[in-house]
């Protein structure tokens, strides 16, 4: 809460990518053990501006370009982390997970447990996620559910510059492996214009945002919308448009999927009775199911209506009319909110 106050008070606003770079730079200054590995992170500054400007300050040994060998360098991050370094390894697009998944899932995520806590793996795996710019089936996914399903990794998805910085400080300082998924459309990259929402006030000093605390981005009494990443902004737009019709929508930004703040969601549903879960990941066997099931377990009696708005179970198509069709937009959310209210 206090942090959020501060954020309202600062008069400096940043794009999400600048906020992330600031967190990384701060942690690298404070701690020699922190370094960044990835493809095109040095001279290029990260395809999605994730390391822009860092090479100048920290040099190529700490802002390291690596071969296109995700298995090798992500696994190397695991090994370095186990030796007490604090690597940040970037997977350029989350869609590439399949070439490095064994290291991610069978080592990064499990070594702490398999060692009975004798070993820890303090690393961050960053990955760009999301569609909306016609990059088709191999470059547009979010895969939130895939990563959140597999135990051993904390999973973070910021939606604003303020959250992005605070959550990244927490992630780098965390002693466990953290998967930090940033949405390309939110970064504020020159060639990929961001909506207004993610550019927020950001304090210059370091601050952390605890994992497992959803953020109520908009309070409302009638309907609970649970979402994350880009869709926080689409949900807020839907909420705004419905306010004119007297529908008062609460928008909850999950911020972290593991740990999941199911309590905040349940409290909200206890109040509203109506739940809409909005996700850019595939519909089935993923995030929307988890949220609805979590609420059904804890608040079944309070739950009057439920809807999910998610990417249907199709790979992501290239052409605009089709991509627009499958990626949930504000109208889809608005319609779902109306539907859960339709029995009133």
């Amino acid at each position: 809460m206090a942090q959020q106050e501060e954020h309202r008070q600062t008069d400096r606003s940043l794009t999400m990518s600048r906020a992330m770079v600031e967190a990384i730079a701060h942690e690298m200054r404070e701690d020699d053990a922190v370094f960044y590995m990835g493809e095109d992170v040095a001279d290029y500054g990260g395809i999605f501006d994730s390391t822009e400007g860092l090479l100048d300050e920290f040099g190529p040994d700490r802002i390291m370009d690596v071969p296109i060998s995700e298995t090798a360098y992500i696994g190397a991050a695991v090994g370095a982390a186990q030796e007490g370094m604090r690597p940040i390894a970037e997977l350029m697009f989350v869609d590439f997970f399949g070439v490095g998944m064994d290291q991610i899932y069978n080592q990064m995520a499990k070594n702490t447990y398999m060692s009975g806590g004798a070993v820890s793996v303090p690393m961050v795996l960053t990955a760009a996620v999301g569609g909306t710019y016609n990059d088709a089936a191999q470059h547009s996914q979010t895969l939130y559910g895939t990563f959140a399903h597999l135990p051993g990794m904390k999973v973070v998805v910021p939606s604003t510059a303020y959250d992005a910085k605070g959550l990244l400080h927490t992630a780098i300082r965390d002693d466990d492996p953290v998967v930090y998924m940033f949405h390309k459309r939110l970064m504020g990259i020159g060639w990929l214009p961001a909506p207004d929402g993610p550019k927020t006030g950001v304090p210059e000093e370091a601050y952390t945002i605890p994992f497992g605390r959803a953020d109520i981005k908009r309070e409302g009494a009638d309907v609970t919308v649970v979402t994350l990443g880009l869709h926080v902004h689409r949900a807020l737009a839907a909420a705004d448009s419905l306010a004119d019709d007297g529908i008062d929508t609460e928008v909850i930004d999950l911020r972290t999927l593991v740990p999941l703040d199911i309590e905040t969601i349940c409290e909200s549903v206890a109040k509203t009775g109506r739940l809409v879960v909005v996700d850019e990941d595939y519909r089935s066997y993923g995030l929307t199911g988890e949220i609805i099931a979590g609420v059904a377990e804890a608040e079944l009696a309070a739950l009057d209506a439920v809807e999910r708005v998610a990417l249907p179970d199709v790979p992501i198509p290239y052409a605009r009319p089709m991509e627009d069709e499958v990626v949930p937009d504000t109208d889809d959310i608005t319609a779902a909110i109306r539907r859960v209210r339709s029995d009133e």
Partner: protein, 346 residues
């Protein structure tokens, strides 16, 4: 040895491939004025153009038949064109239109033309294993088809490529791996990502013959490809071919190439495989008029394809729900639940 008619064919295809990229660049960037917004303009998504790679696609694919399989990476157009892909349908696909090869579902990194057994995909080295599979299919069926996997020099450190070398080798499959060495993997120069001077040095460790063509010369590439493809066709197994090409444009459209020395950019432009071939053709007494004719024919095909593509309708939004499966699970309205017993013997 290539006859002069073949050289003319190659010239025409190379000009076509080059002009194709130039025209796409124009269309792509035009739609992104004044500010570059990747989601604006007539061509959606990322666009990786292959200007400077022509000698590779043409020199290799010249020796392939429609039944032979080619897999290409994210920078595929010159290879697709050389393999004889349906140019109009490919262009419509790149423009995201309904009559595109994939009805607009795939886009420029996911071009599939089963008529000429061409496919490409966007993950580094990902096409290598399927090419090995095509070689396996040919061997199992006892045909003399071959499969060719193209990849960039940045892809030689990826497991999918390295494992494929071994699998093709131990199974003695008709597969040729072609490394297109353009010195760069996005912003990373090759010496930053590997210690070997050339990718072809990897071949011996998998018991494969390897050849490198150092000059961006379609005739030299064609000669080396004749050997490699011939070996595969004759049942003598896989090989690795590496060819020097050049990246005349940014990695993708919109790439300002801030990381790239001007001298390197200039050099890439100067070492022009098309001019080189032109010189050879002139030495073979091909006159200006003939060259002009080849060039205009090539350009005309490209212009026609682009014009046609731009007139094509966009797909219906609802088409997005089709083609997840070739045989979609049936929605049987009369379905009754299945009730069984389980357990022990009956």
């Amino acid at each position: 040895m290539l006859g002069v008619t073949e050289l003319q064919d190659m010239y025409e295809t190379m000009v076509m491939a080059r002009y194709y990229e130039e025209r796409l660049q124009e269309e792509y960037l035009e739609g992104k004025q004044p500010a570059f917004d990747i989601s604006a303009g007539p061509i959606p998504g990322e666009l990786h153009l292959a200007a400077g790679h022509e000698a590779s696609g043409v020199g290799v694919c010249h020796h392939l038949r429609a039944e032979d399989t080619v897999t290409a990476p994210h920078r595929p157009h010159h290879i697709a064109i050389a393999k004889g892909i349906d140019l109009k349908a490919m262009t419509a696909e790149i423009f995201g239109r309904e009559t595109g090869l994939s009805g607009g579902k795939g886009g420029h990194m996911h071009l599939f033309d089963p008529n000429v057994n061409f496919a490409c995909s966007g993950i580094i080295a990902e096409g290598c294993p399927p090419a090995v599979g095509a070689g396996l299919a040919a061997k199992k069926r006892n045909t003399d088809s071959v499969a060719v996997a193209f990849l960039g020099e940045g892809a030689i450190d990826q497991g999918a490529f390295l494992e494929s070398l071994n699998l093709a080798s131990v199974q003695n499959l008709p597969v040729v791996f072609v490394i297109e060495d353009n010195d760069w993997a996005i912003s990373m120069p090759k010496e930053r990502v590997t210690d070997v001077t050339n990718g072809v040095q990897r071949a011996a460790g998998f018991d494969l013959p390897g050849t490198r063509v150092d000059a961006d010369d379609v005739v030299a590439i064609s000669d080396a490809a004749t050997d490699a493809i011939g070996r595969a066709r004759d049942g003598n197994g896989p090989s690795l071919l590496e060819v020097q090409v050049h990246r005349r444009m940014g990695h993708f459209m919109g790439d300002a190439e801030g990381y790239r020395p001007d001298a390197d950019k200039d050099a890439a432009t100067r070492r022009d495989s098309i001019e080189r071939l032109e010189t050879k053709l002139r030495a073979n007494d091909i006159d200006d008029e003939t060259l002009d004719e080849l060039r205009s024919r090539a350009r005309e095909r490209v212009d026609d394809a682009i014009e046609w593509a731009k007139e094509q309708p966009e797909p219906e939004p609802s088409a997005a729900y089709e083609d997840v499966f070739s045989s979609p699970p049936s929605e049987d309205p009369e379905r009754a639940p299945s009730v069984a017993d389980t357990g022990g013997e009956d």
